[in-house]
Each structure stands twice: as structure tokens, then as C-alpha cells.
Symmetry: C2
Amino acid sequence: MKAGIARERLDGERRVAATPDTVKQLAGLGLEVEVESGAGLASGHSDQDYAAAGATVVQSLDLGSLDVYCHVRPMEPSTAEALRRGSVTVGLGSPASELPTVQALASGGITSFALELVPRISRAQSMDALTSQALVAGYRCVLEAAMRLPRFFPLYMTAAGTIPPARVLILGAGVAGLQAIGTAKRLGARVSANDIRPASADEVASMGGTFIKLDLETAEASGGYARELSADRGALQRALLAPHVAQADVLITTAAVPGRRAPLLVTREMVQGMRPGSVVVDLAAESGGNVEGSIPGQDLPIPTGDGHGTVTLVGIKDAASAMPADASRLFAKNVANLLALMTRDGTVSPDFSDEVVAGTCLTHHGDVRHMPTAEALAAQPRSEGAR
Amino acid sequence: MKAGIARERLDGERRVAATPDTVKQLAGLGLEVEVESGAGLASGHSDQDYAAAGATVVQSLDLGSLDVYCHVRPMEPSTAEALRRGSVTVGLGSPASELPTVQALASGGITSFALELVPRISRAQSMDALTSQALVAGYRCVLEAAMRLPRFFPLYMTAAGTIPPARVLILGAGVAGLQAIGTAKRLGARVSANDIRPASADEVASMGGTFIKLDLETAEASGGYARELSADRGALQRALLAPHVAQADVLITTAAVPGRRAPLLVTREMVQGMRPGSVVVDLAAESGGNVEGSIPGQDLPIPTGDGHGTVTLVGIKDAASAMPADASRLFAKNVANLLALMTRDGTVSPDFSDEVVAGTCLTHHGDVRHMPTAEALAAQPRSEGAR
């Protein structure tokens, strides 16, 4: 069977769905691998590297000839339409926001797998791209903050006086948040964190952070993800967080609710309560933002309430793509590991009795198998009619 | 006596020579302090903050009315000319490269102190601006490298495989280099370093780095600074370094010889021998560069020798100014501590029998007291005549 590796086309996307290393893994499964020329360049892999690993490098993939199509970002509907009926795709699907593509995949009879849907069970961890990419994003956002802060993260005792460590506050302690805690701690900052999930206090402490306990009920949904708070409790949460935000030199927000708009944790007023020169990094800017007014890919100067200066509000965009070599290394392993689970004797044939295969499948044989997405698609014509 | 604090005018310069904290210190010495409006903004200090600390904030300093003038960057000749005969100045002087200003200071009868000239003795450490600013630069250049590297600094053991730590090589282990070693180590990299001074091996090890021993004689001049190597030995040094450079994911060069062009440690060929995606940060770019072809303030993509990708060559510019809050905090203390040494009962009157005062003085009573600078000035008309 022939597997194709796409050169990503979305502006700002620098990752790739296979590395020379995983090309060897896929070849070992008995797959023939085609790589689009230049696909790995930003990740440090030349066409020659792929060829040396056993892939055929082509100027452009002939989509209709592929049995398997591997990608990073959700594909365009036109890509889905060009694929052969019965072929298999693996990559990010963003099903909630890419309904036209999901529709095209279903209509085209494609068996598509969306890595966001990988079940959060131990056996599937090696395929969990949300986790692997959040690791990169969490590390990255601390560097982005440190670069913009007009002062040091670590404590320094010098002949010209002692410089206290920067105070870093992390809101949201999932994979990205925990990684941010660990990285800020490595750099020598004083780190505190909050999350609404009950397990967080121990996890924050294990990364070296101080857990901020708010007088709020905790909220956890299935799979260890946070669930949405009601409007009242959201307001209470913000009120309780405000004094902690005001104390911070750096605020990093990483709170996400899968498939939904990110929760608003920090109002403009809270940002204005910070000291001049402070930095706010909103890792959730692309999914609606944890911080009021953040814009993906932009640094905004927010005047402080005392009129003495500004706070820099950073809307993060493509965090994982900013470190494409290691982000691709992990992502490509996630893709290859899922394909390994589904491949026997050189043939990719998903076994839907396997919980991981079944859970990750987005479309198959014309059906949308991910229920929330199927419901969203079914609801779509009606909501349009209601306008 | 009246001390004036300048708003720096050089493009890219964001530091300030006094903070609200040191305004209090200067006021405590009996000095009246005037601060130019906006002088501390980039460092996070508003005019109100200075006023609250006891300073008078003015739209623009009346230079002729000042007894003391405090600045960061070397002043323009026109500034020196506007100062009152007998007044005292404290700041960076860059005497080797700012001869017209030195001439103007001498002609104008200014008693000027250049913080680069502070003797490297224990008692003077609290006034040593080269050291305090190198601390900032050393930390900063690691962040600059980490931001551009397409991969992690730390080791990660993840469900999708183990990511080895980045290999960071630091050339030049003075204050900035040691700080870079410590910061890269904090971030989890595997760090090695080299310096031609004999004391370096222990210092590198104490910061957590591995010292690379080259088969070269060591070279140390007075004050613990490195001295220049002969042309032959420079070539041998580069040949011995080449294999270490080729192994590095990140190369940071910090080698400087005071008052001279920075030594060329890394040729273009050595950079081309690195792997695609590697990053080279030249902290000495502004003083001629340790790396062939580096340009201050620019990122240059250098094609690797195998034609498989590029190395990013970063010429650092204004490293300390990139973190103005803490850089100013330390610099302002250096300035205030030197003034404290020279002030009795509210009067600044330098005692030239003090080794620190005498060593730091650049011009006094019409004379250039720093011998190398006096010689350079004396040599100037002759070399012009020879053309």
C-alpha cells in the first residue's frame, strides 16, 4: 500500500507528518512511502534525507493514487475530494471547526482518523498528538514570555544588589500548563498556578509550582479535561484570580475546553491591574482566548490602570510550529504509531473493535462516526434556515 | 549639587542611568536630582515614580546648570560641549571608539568617569558596569538562541519517544559566557565551553558546563581579561574548535578583548559544517564579531555545506537593552555607588588618591587621564596626515 506525506500548505505551519525516522518505521510495516518535495525542510529534513530513509520524493502527491494520506493540519475539502474512496487519512481534523471537510470526507467514503480524538488511555499515549504538541506549546510560551519581559526570570545576587526572581502565574495546568510551570521553574522563576480540575494541585506541585487554591468547586469532565464553568462561577473565578494576576510579572494562560471556545479567565481590567512591563501570554488565543482582547499572532500594549506604563499582551499563534523539528518528531511518531496499530502484513485495515481505532475514527464508509461532529453537521442546515 | 539623569537618545537604547531606587540613594547623599521626562519608561519607571522618589522631572535637562551628569551610552561631542566646566559625568565612555567625545570632554574641562574603566578589584565590583551588563547579555543570548532553535533545550522522555537535550557550545567564558553556560544549563541543555584563560576550566565546571581543553597555550592579560592571540595561534584555535562546533545545536560566542576588535573564533566554513537548523549567536557582533560574517541586529541564513538546509547566524545588538528593567536596575546602582564613593556632605569631589576613582577617570582638568586613550588621541592627527 502507498502512503503519502503532504507538504503542509497553511501559512505559518512548519511541521511535517513524517520524519526520515518514521519513514523507516512505515517502510518496516510494509508500506511504500511517498514524500512531497520540501515537506520536511523547516523541520531540518531534506529530500535527500527522506530518500536515504527509503521514501520516494515526488514534486506533488497524486492524491488519487494513495492508500494512506498523512498530514498535520486539517485538510481542505478539495483535498478530501481528491482522495480515493476507501483510502485512509491520519492527521489533525479539528472536526468542530472544519465541518465542510468532514462532510467531504464522509461523502467521499474516506476512512479518516483525527488525532485529536485519540482516547486518553495509557495504551494510546504514543499516538496522542494533542499531548505531544501541547508539550511543545507549553515550553515555547515560557520562552515567548521571557523574551518580552524587561527583566530576568532567575534570582541573582550581584555586587550591585539582589534581583528577585520573576513571579510567573500559570492558569490552566493541563499538559501545556504543566510544561510551562516546569520550564519557568527551570529558568528560575517563582511559579504559581491554578486549574479547576481537582487533580491539579498535586500535578502543579510535582512540577515545582505553588498551587493557588480558589474557593470554587472543581470541575472535571471525562478524559481528565476541564469542563466549562457556568457564567456565575466564571465571574467568581475571575474575581478570585484578580489579586494573583496583579502580583504577577508574567501571566501565562493555557486553559482549553476541547471542541469549545476557550474560557475567559482574565478580563482587560485584570490585565490593567498588573505592573508596567508585565507580560501576558495567551496560549488559547487561537481558540477564542483566555484573556480578553488577545489576538493570535499579535503583541498588544495594554495601558496599566495607574497610567504609568503598559502590559504586553501576547496572543500566541502556531506555538508548536515555532519549534518544527521536535514538534514534527513527536507528531510523526504519533502518526506512525497509529498506523502501526492498524497495519498487518503491509495492509492498513483498521479494526474497529479496538477502542483506540474506533475512538480516533472521524469518518468511515460514508458515516461520521464521531457523535458530537455528526450532531453538529445534522444541526447545520437547520441553524442556517433559522437565520 | 544638582545631578541630571538623561533620557537616552540612541536608537535601540532602552536603559536609564538612575531608577527611583537610586534617586533615593543620590538624594540621601545630599544631591538634588533632575530626571528628564520619559527617561525610565522602557525600564518600567514613570515620571511619577521618579517624582515620588524625590526627583524633579524636567522636559529637558539644562546641561549647563548641572554639577553631575549621569548617562548610559557614551555622549555625543555636542553634549560634552554643553556641560559646565568642572562638572562631573558618569556613564559608559567607550573611549577607544569615541575619541571626538573624549576630546570634547577634555577641552571642556569636564571630570568624566567611564564605567568601563572601573578597576577589577573586589571593592569596585558594585560599580562595575561591564560585569553587570554582561550578566544581562549572557542570560539574554541564551533566550535568543532558544527562541530560534527548532527544537527543545531539555531532554524529554515522552510516550512518543525520547528527545535528547540540545548541545550548546559557548566560546568565551567571561561574565557573559559563564552566565550563558548557567542559563543554558538551567534550561536543560548539555553545555560545553572553551576559553583561552587558564582560570576558565574551573569556572566553566562550577556553572555546570563541560570544559573543552584545546591543545593551545593559555593567554591571560591583567585584570583577568583575555589577551589577543597571535595570527598563527588563532588559526590553530579555530582548527581545534571546528569539530566541537560541528557537533553543536547551538553555538554562542562571547569572546571580547577590551578596547580591541573581537577575535575571530569561527569561520564561515565552520558554521557551514553544522547541521541544518542549528543556531549561532554572536554576542560580539557589535565589536567586530567572533563569527565571520555576523551583522549586528540581523539573522542570516547560512547554507550548510551538505546543501540540506541552513544555519541561523544571529548578530546580537543591544543585548542588555533588551531587558531594560533589570539592566537599568544594575547599571543605576553602579552609577550611584561610584557617586557615593566620591560624595561628601552633598558635594561630589573626586579623591584621586583612591585607586577606583583614579582608575575610572577618563578626563579631568583638561587632561585625558586614561593612558591608552591619550595615546590614541595623540596618534590621531599623525595617522590622518599619513594618508
